[in-house]
């Protein structure tokens, strides 16, 4: 048995994060991230939880995004904070080499949104954390299709291959993962970043026992 597996390292810290955005464009200054939520947790407990609403003067959220994410203008106005300060707090964890960043579909989406966030704060791209990432959407595909990292390529390459893997009727959304692991959730609250990351934390813990990482 491989004792180096993450499932046995109860002290390993994870940064589980999610962005909510104005639309689905991966590089548009109009696609501002307006909510950034993250939790820092080890296998047993949540150590820190943050739910930031990011203050932009010219937020243009598409009607579809408003509907899906349940965007509330008055709540946003009340809670929105300086995006640069929120980014600094988040990146304090993200660029910590002992932390594993985790998210659902981060390789295909949230990494780019983090880059937009940096760009809007006047910072250059920095994906130096990418090798440490775990994308629970990719892991869900690996579990469903029994695709192991048998060639012992790097974890990130394996996940990118899974990210590019498409199959009809293969459902790996967060909702599908929660259903698979019989984790209770409120469907109305899905796509709220804070709710999603807490759900994803539960999914991650199940996945680590389903596949060898």
């Amino acid at each position: 048995m491989n004792e180096n597996l993450l499932r046995f390292n109860k002290k390993q810290k994870y940064l589980i994060f999610d962005y909510e955005t104005c639309n689905l464009n991966l590089n548009s200054k109009d696609n501002k991230p307006w909510q950034l939520s993250y939790i820092v947790a080890d296998f047993n407990k949540i150590l820190e939880e943050q739910d930031f609403y990011l203050k932009w003067e010219d937020l243009k959220i598409s009607d579809e995004a408003k509907k899906i994410t349940g965007f509330n203008q008055s709540k946003y106005k009340k809670l929105a904070k300086d995006p640069a300060e929120c980014l600094k707090s988040f990146e304090g964890w993200l660029y910590n080499k002992d932390i594993i960043p985790v998210g659902h579909n981060i390789l295909g989406f949230d990494l780019y949104i983090h880059n937009i966030h940096r760009n809007l704060c006047g910072l250059k791209p920095d994906f130096s954390y990418i090798d440490r990432c775990i994308d629970t959407n990719c892991i869900a595909k690996a579990v469903a299709e029994n695709i192991k990292n048998k060639n012992q390529t790097s974890r990130i390459s394996w996940q990118y291959s899974l990210n590019n893997f498409r199959k009809r009727r293969l459902k790996t959304s967060l909702k599908a993962c929660a259903n698979k692991y019989k984790i209770e959730f409120d469907e109305k609250k899905l796509h709220n970043a804070l709710y999603d990351i807490n759900l994803n934390y539960q999914v991650l813990k199940k996945q680590l026992w389903d596949i060898e990482i």
Binding site: I147, S161, N164, F165
Partner: protein, 248 residues
């Protein structure tokens, strides 16, 4: 760092024309090359249809042309669905090379095909007339890294050069590391390049719009738009001459 221009003859890949009138709103490869003071314009196209226009423009502008054809190469045509297909670029070194490019292109697309078998390429190959380059994206290294491919093509008939790029995509560093490792082991050379699909970063929205249109404007029956372009990993606006100028 060498800028590798692509024109809209490569459908869905670039919004640059080959030529345009000075002060026109349309951006073109040779106007950009002239503005940047380039003595040579290196083009990489997905087909040969723009070759004549490019040759004429080269003469009119007094800018040398290096023309490369990017196409899919497979170990075996019968297995073209399999994981052994990858992109290569073939540059013509001289007039003879241009004639050979035409033969290679014809061979690749005969019988409705879209790729060239490596043995066919080997038969047509002339080292004095052609140069093979391995592109940064969609090469066998890229596919092995990101698409579960296990392809190790045998380039015994030539010595390819491996193109390196940095477009600030999250996975660029992973590809670059793999290329360096492979080239060190196999004693191949690398060359720093940048693919150019539009003039400035501010043209990225136009580029995305064009790609959406070329993707037939819908995805799984849903209309695509700039808010929902459904373009995987289309998250960099660095494929432009503005970016090249800053890091050349």
């Amino acid at each position: 760092m060498i800028p590798l221009f692509k024109s809209d003859y490569s459908i869905g890949k670039s919004i640059l024309k080959i030529t345009s009138k000075a002060n026109s709103k349309v951006d073109s490869v040779f106007e950009i090359a002239k503005e940047e003071g380039l003595t040579t314009a290196t083009m990489v196209e997905d087909c040969l249809t723009g070759f004549l226009s490019a040759t004429r423009a080269s003469k009119n502008y007094g800018i040398d042309l290096i023309f490369g054809l990017r196409l899919t190469c497979c170990d075996s045509r019968s297995k073209k669905e399999a994981q052994d297909c990858h992109k290569i670029i073939i540059f013509a070194k001289n007039d003879e090379g241009c004639k050979l490019l035409n033969k290679i292109f014809s061979k690749a697309f005969e019988l409705g095909g879209t790729s060239i078998e490596i043995n066919d390429l080997k038969k047509l190959w002339q080292e004095s007339a052609l140069l093979m380059a391995i592109p940064f994206y969609d090469s066998f290294i890229y596919n092995n890294l990101f698409k579960f491919s296990q392809c190790m093509p045998l380039f015994s008939f030539t010595k390819p050069i491996f193109l390196e790029e940095d477009n600030m995509l999250p996975f660029d560093s992973i590809i670059k590391d793999a290329i360096h490792q492979y080239c060190k082991k196999n004693k191949f050379e690398t060359l720093k390049t940048k693919s150019i699909y539009y003039k400035n970063r501010s043209d990225f929205e136009a580029f995305q719009t064009y790609k959406c249109i070329c993707n037939r404007g819908s995805w799984q029956g849903k209309t695509v738009s700039l808010e929902k372009p459904n373009l995987d990993h289309c998250g960099s606006r660095e494929f432009c001459i503005e970016s090249w100028r800053e890091c050349k």
